[in-house]
């Protein structure tokens, strides 16, 4: 796999063939890309992610919502507090039957495929639409934290001096509180203002999630801004923001981008944790953490009601695992310290 490493180390120009992709993205990034499609764990992660993406996109076909205006609201079958087992019949106002159901089951009766949680919320709907929530939440938080982090970090690094000092001290201050605790506080403050929805949790995770990226890109820009192309841009009369955002940031952003994209899983996990604690989404919103929180009322009878824990838990674990598998392979490939060892 590392057939080019000896060449790199000896300083002799590479004699091997360099493909168009490698030319396009550069040798380091190309190695990361190769790691993605050659490491078995990473492939497994990508396949899992593809499945999740399919489920998220096809959610209206897999589990047609009861009301198309509010598809994230899990349909419920009555109000009884006791969970009902998998495969039990859907008695009261069942949502529209998906078209594939008749082909497979040859009946017109819609059932609770994965059972119901307390309050008769259908777990199957929750798991399927929860996939959409997971992607939405994860991607929103990642993009927002990335934008904030890159802005703060690149401005700090480029202008340096007092600007750098102030911005980085702000970063330090944000880092003094443990992540989940900080998010918990902010969500508590935001819930009365936004009502019960995904926004309080999302905003608070964004609010305390961006610092790592700021530090990361700052480090990369500090070394990059002394390079000749920046000088060239300046000599051509470009200045300030143009140099920073047209010339420097595009060249420095890749490692931060990789790290950030792999954090989607952990943001989804944190979001689910907040939902599990009961902060954020309203009861009945399709979210895995929220589904799992139903189990808290049934701790002593979980042996009978195992399906309220196992199915949403399974979805959440697999989702996070998929991102981590991909992220791990990427990080290994990009970590220069590990290069010597892997040979």
């Amino acid at each position: 796999m590392m057939n080019n490493s000896s060449i790199q180390n000896s300083g002799i120009p590479a004699l091997r063939k360099v493909g168009w992709l490698e030319k396009l993205v550069g040798p380091d990034n190309y190695r990361a890309f190769r790691a993605l499609i050659t490491t078995p764990a990473a492939i497994l992660g990508l396949v899992l992610l593809a499945i999740f993406a399919f489920v998220a996109i096809a959610a209206p076909i897999i589990a047609p919502p009861a009301s198309s205006r509010d598809p994230y609201r899990i349909p419920r079958d009555g109000f009884s507090p006791d969970p009902r087992p998998m495969g039990s019949e859907w008695k009261r106002n069942p949502p529209p039957l998906p078209f594939w159901w008749r082909f497979i089951m040859k009946t017109d009766g819609w059932i609770h495929i994965l059972g119901t949680a307390s309050g008769q919320w259908d777990i199957f709907y929750g798991v399927i639409w929860g996939t959409r929530t997971a992607f939405r939440v994860g991607i929103t938080i990642t993009l927002a934290t990335l934008v904030i982090g890159v802005l703060v970090g690149s401005i700090a690094a480029y202008y340096g001096g007092i600007v750098d000092n102030i911005l980085m001290r702000i970063v330090d201050i944000f880092l003094t509180l443990p992540f989940l605790m900080a998010a918990l506080i902010l969500a508590t403050i935001l819930v009365p203002r936004f009502g019960k929805s995904i926004y309080p949790a999302v905003i608070s995770l964004i609010g305390f999630g961006w610092m790592g990226y700021a530090r990361l890109i700052r480090g990369d820009i500090l070394s990059l801004k002394e390079r000749e192309f920046v000088l060239a841009a300046r000599a051509l009369g470009a200045r300030g923001f143009r140099i920073l955002f047209r010339h420097i940031v595009p060249n420095a952003i890749f490692p931060t981008l990789v790290v950030a994209s792999m954090d989607v899983g952990s943001y989804v996990l944190s979001f689910a944790a907040l939902a599990f604690l009961g902060i954020g989404v309203e009861v009945g919103y399709a979210d895995w953490g929220q589904l799992l929180s139903f189990a808290r009322n049934w701790i002593s009878s979980l042996a009978d009601y195992w399906y309220i824990v196992v199915w949403p838990g399974f979805a959440l674990v697999l989702f996070v695992l998929a991102w981590n598998l991909v992220g791990d392979a990427l990080r290994d490939a990009l970590d220069p310290r590990m290069r010597a060892v892997r040979r």
Binding site: F174, P178, L180, F276, L292, I299, S301, G313
Partner: protein, 354 residues
Amino acid sequence: MTAYIIRRLLLLPVLLFGVTVIIFGLLQFLSPVERSALYVREIPHTEGAVEGIIKRYGLDQPIYVQYWHWLVGRIDPVTGKRVGGILRGDLGYSRVGSQPVASLIAQRFPATAELALWAVVPIIGVGIWLGVQSAVRHNRFFDQVARVFSIIGWSFPTFVFGLLVLMFFYAKLRWFPPGRLSDWASAIVNSDQFHQYTHLHTIDALLNLRFDIFWDALKHMILPILTLSYLNWALLLRITRSSMLEVLGQDYVRTARAKGLPERLVINRHARPNALIPVVTIAGLMVAGLLGGVVITETVFTYPGIGSAAAQAAIQLDVVTVLGFALFNGTVLILANLVVDILYAVIDPRVRLG
């Protein structure tokens, strides 16, 4: 060395100032009426009374004035007594706990400390052992299994893992119940014949020679410890493994091997101590995290510590209480960081000289 420690100590007030700034900043999201919970127990809802409270506690004054009052307290113009002031230990009144936040923390802390005390040894001991073994057997079977375990553990949300072990060991087998003590045991603990020396039930039980209570308290902690261990093992294993692998690739390790040292000595005496240097940071922060209350684990197991109290307060939107806990949490974290940094300098000369 001394210079390093002094430099580090000088940083302490700065960091503590940082925590207070961010907590105070978060407080500013609240309306003056909500903020009055810092000073009064019941927030009155009549029009005039609210105005009175805002005036009386200076909640309409400039922010830096309010920050100062929040730090050191303020003379109440009506009674002439000093009220509030986090430096005086007054964190406000907890609506959820129906007592001052500080005494709520004091009441909940022993439970969290006890859990941390029992969890820390298995977490750090086993975690480091796994990491070292995994690096020594790089790419062999043990390593592969450990890595799979690590990445799965890393992806397993605490609450899912916690619910699963509860499902099996409590709901199914009835071995390890949630909570902190069984009813009969807590009746004895709170009775007169049982002296609560430390408020750590296991240690108190030993001092009172009540081994049944010791066992009961321990039984309640086994599942939380298992849950905390699993997650932290995954993290420690990763860090220790990669650090150990890096060290094993160093020249001095090759030298040690070349001069014919047995592999055991190479690993234990030459490689491991150096590989553990970065691990100290992580382990220190883990201990701090445990002491600050592990919100989710405590909530899943209804374990009455700092973390579950904070979660409860958050659900009921009792912001003053949550912020009080956060202040405590942040302070613990900063102090732990200080200890870690000093330890770091003790074990790694590069840090104190560089």
